[in-house]
């Protein structure tokens, strides 16, 4: 297109009142033109009829984008808040539909409107182009402020340059303009200037963000609880002779609630009696502690069914006659000081909890070797429960 003969796109004609433009649009349609359009600064009632327009297909874009938006955001909220990471918010159910309705509504409108606008631009500018020959014309400047215009495209079969111009003038146009197609230009994507421009923009944004956030707007963090007039654990001290902040307790100090247990594994402790009664509360505590500390090796039912899968010597069953014959004091000593490969649990399990575990082990043992009166007791309990349930 380097020659100076430009290609004619259309003839634009300007009118100065809505009545004239409706009259002119009527006549143009009756004259048999197809490729023409009317541009007005505001919608004019009756123009559809004058131009013989049928209802636009763009509505389908809106419809489907709206459906897509609604179903997408609803399933998104359902998946994130009810399936993937269920959260209780304000005591509502995991799928609180009323709370989702406003978001669904907004997102439906948003996706419908934005895709309609994109579709309109794509159709009107003939995608992938982003401009139109009418841009930057005198015609367009006027119809977008206070005049009314008709534009007849050159590709129309009835189009003849002089005749069409005269026809438009005879219909009352006060001005006609020949509109040419703009010269086709190509733009390289990797233009050095463009890349440099991008780089500068990136530097300016990141630099100014850094300066603003870290220098200009910097505020000391909330740290006044960190710096107090006290010694920290593991910290160095300039005050104490061994340069440590941590102090050893005075010799002979006993922690609150701590009962000293001066016996070793080899000492005879059979005569210690269990100070706890096997109440439900005690048994629950014993069960909890047993399941936490004992069950990995001895099994959930103390039957030696270890969860360690051979990585460590499995614990023996506690249902052997030998263990049943152990006194409570003996088991207490084993938990406290360990036995064979079993280490001491004195640090993990306190004295009370140890007695509770022993109570629980006794229950497990009794469950393995029940006595006849246990069955009748169970029946009674069952009957009591049934009566309670039926009441």
């Amino acid at each position: 297109m380097s020659n100076n003969q430009k290609q004619l796109y259309a003839i634009g004609a300007l009118f100065d009142s809505p009545d004239k433009i409706i009259y002119a649009a009527n006549k143009i349609r009756e004259a048999g033109f197809v490729n023409y359009d009317v541009n007005t600064p505001y919608p004019i009632h009756g123009m559809d009829k004058a131009m013989g327009l049928k209802s636009s297909k763009i509505g389908y874009v809106t419809l489907f984008a709206g459906f897509f938006g609604a179903s997408f955001i609803l399933s998104f909220m359902w998946w994130t808040l009810s399936v993937s990471y269920p959260l209780v918010i304000g005591g509502k159910p995991y799928f609180p539909l009323p709370a989702f309705v406003p978001i669904t509504f907004e997102f439906t409108v948003l996706s419908a409107v934005v895709s309609t606008a994109i579709a309109l631009i794509a159709v009107a500018f003939n995608f992938p182009y982003n401009s139109h020959p009418l841009h930057d014309s005198y015609y367009m400047k006027n119809v977008s402020s206070d005049k009314f215009g008709i534009v007849i495209e050159a590709i129309d079969e009835k189009f003849k340059k002089e005749d069409t111009e005269n026809l438009l003038k005879s219909l009352g146009a006060y001005f006609t303009e020949l509109i040419y197609k703009p010269e086709e230009k190509t733009f390289k994507i990797f233009e050095p200037k463009f890349l440099a421009f991008l780089l500068i923009i990136a530097l300016i944004t990141s630099g100014s963000t850094y300066v603003t956030l870290n220098k200009l707007m910097y505020m000391p963090p909330f740290d006044f609880m960190l710096h107090q007039n006290r010694g920290n654990a593991q910290a160095k001290s300039n005050f104490f002779y061994n340069t440590r902040e941590m102090r050893n307790p005075v010799k002979g100090t006993v922690a609150q609630g701590y009962i000293p247990y001066p016996f070793n594994a080899t000492d005879s402790t059979e005569y210690f009696a269990d100070p706890l009664l096997p109440t439900m509360e005690v048994l629950r505590l014993g069960q909890k502690k047993f399941l936490t500390f004992c069950s990995p090796c001895h099994g959930n039912y103390a039957d030696g069914n270890s969860r360690l899968q051979g990585q460590f010597p499995p614990g023996p069953t506690l249902h052997s006659q030998q263990v049943i014959n152990y006194s409570d004091g003996k088991i207490y000593n084993i938990i406290t000081n360990g036995q064979n490969v079993m280490p001491s649990y004195a640090r993990q399990i306190n004295s009370n909890e140890r007695w509770a575990i022993i109570n629980y082990i006794r229950v497990l043992q009794r469950a393995q070797n029940p006595k006849p009166e246990d069955f009748s007791a169970i029946k009674e309990i069952k009957k009591e429960n049934d009566d309670n349930a039926s009441n």
Binding site: G46, P98, P102
Partner: protein, 399 residues
């Protein structure tokens, strides 16, 4: 000048068939007779049923007057051919002053705050007593109805005068009146809805409730207007210069207010559902547990989803059969909504509720009253505002 214009409108005054007024009158008499019977059998239920029908009549009457005022204030052109029909429907308003009197006698059944022993035990009601006491309540209701009637008489008188002289300044006088009326209407319909509907559940409050009743009123008024104008147009009572574009606009308004109601109703529901405060959520738990669950869900479908889907396509707003169907649907559903607003409070006030056909005796009378009044007005006045200065423009109205 008016006589010459008469030729151009193409409107010829025709009498409605004689049977029209007779049907209305007989429906009215049958309805009232059955209503009195229902009062003898179940007095409490009859009072609630009467209030339901009263709310139904109020929404149609005051909504129609609002449409007339809206046309004047907005300077709307398309609605001029239908304005007189809306004026005829608003002629219910002065009769409301008579119709409200039985309600004053049934207040003990409707409102718990009228019982001194209930108020004595209830701190909240004691604090509300300044507003919720019987004399002030009755005065408020009467003043509101008088105000509405006053504006009904002023606006319609000017409009009718125009038929004979076609004076332009009657329109500009009505524009001023309408602006004042809309302002007063905004306050009064809120107060009216607070008094007669909200105070049945005296602990409950919702500031948007007036807007809810407003949405209902305009919605049903457009439906009544559409139904009657389509039938009158098809039978040739109006001028044939009215185009489909006019009816399209009526359909669009029904559609718009369908959505508006859903918006308002949901706004009220969602905030109270989210807050979940005992004094607010009680209104919805009353309508969710017990026999009302199906009614509440049905209201969402009948009041929003069905009319939304019927009126959504462009074609349905220009098709007379669909327009008539949608209008009848809306009128029926508006009664359903009034029923849903009023009847659940029976349980709340210590009465037993079970669905009964006695509830549908007073609506017969209400429909009869509307038909009777409309027939009488058609006999007296023109069905078409032949003197309106906007007539030329309305006939040139395009979409």
């Amino acid at each position: 000048m008016p006589l010459i214009e008469l030729q151009h409108t193409g409107y010829i005054k025709k009498e409605l068939p004689n049977s029209f007024v007779k049907i209305g009158l007989s429906l009215l008499v049958i309805g009232i007779a059955l209503g009195i019977l229902s009062y003898i059998f179940e007095p409490a239920r009859a009072v609630y049923g009467y209030l339901t029908s009263f709310i139904f009549l109020v929404t149609i009457g005051i909504g129609s007057l609002f449409l007339v005022a809206l046309e004047y204030v907005a300077g709307a052109v398309w609605s001029v051919p239908f304005r007189r029909i809306a004026e005829f429907f608003s002629s219910i308003i002065p009769f409301l002053i008579i119709l409200i009197i039985p309600l004053f006698f049934g207040m003990n059944n409707l409102f718990t705050w009228t019982h001194p022993n209930v108020v004595a035990k209830d701190v909240i009601l004691q604090k509300k007593e300044m507003y919720l006491n019987i004399p002030f309540f009755i005065i408020r209701s009467i003043v509101i109805l008088l105000l509405w009637s006053l504006f009904y008489f002023l606006i319609t008188r000017n409009s009718r005068k125009q038929d004979f002289n076609g004076e332009q300044n009657l329109t500009s006088r009505n524009i001023k009146l309408s602006a004042v009326f809309i302002l007063i209407f905004a306050f009064t319909i809120s107060i009216f809805s607070f008094d007669w509907l909200m105070s049945m559940e005296p602990h409950w409050y919702s500031t948007i409730f007036g807007v809810y009743l407003f949405a209902d009123a305009v919605w049903v008024s457009f439906a009544v207007l559409t139904l009657s104008s389509v039938i009158l147009y098809q039978k040739g009572y109006l001028t044939n210069k009215i185009k489909k574009d006019h009816f399209y606009s009526l359909g669009t308004w029904m559609f718009a207010f369908t959505i508006f109601w859903a918006y308002i109703a949901f706004s009220q529901y969602m905030l109270q559902w989210y807050g979940n405060l005992p004094e607010e959520i009680i209104y919805y738990t009353n309508r969710w547990y017990g026999p009302w669950k199906a009614f509440s869900l049905g209201l969402v479908i009948a009041h929003f989803i069905v009319p939304f889907l019927i009126l959504l396509p462009r074609r349905s707003k220009t098709n007379f059969a669909i327009l008539k169907f949608a209008a009848i649907w809306i009128i029926v559903v508006q009664f359903y909504d009034a029923y849903w607003l009023v009847m659940p409070e029976m349980i709340n006030n210590g009465f037993k509720y079970n669905f009964s056909l006695w509830d549908f005796t007073f609506p017969i009378a209400a429909v009869g009253l509307i038909i009777f009044l409309f027939g009488r007005m058609v006999k007296k006045y023109n069905l078409f505002p032949i003197g309106d200065p906007k007539l030329k423009r309305t006939f040139e109205f395009y979409l």
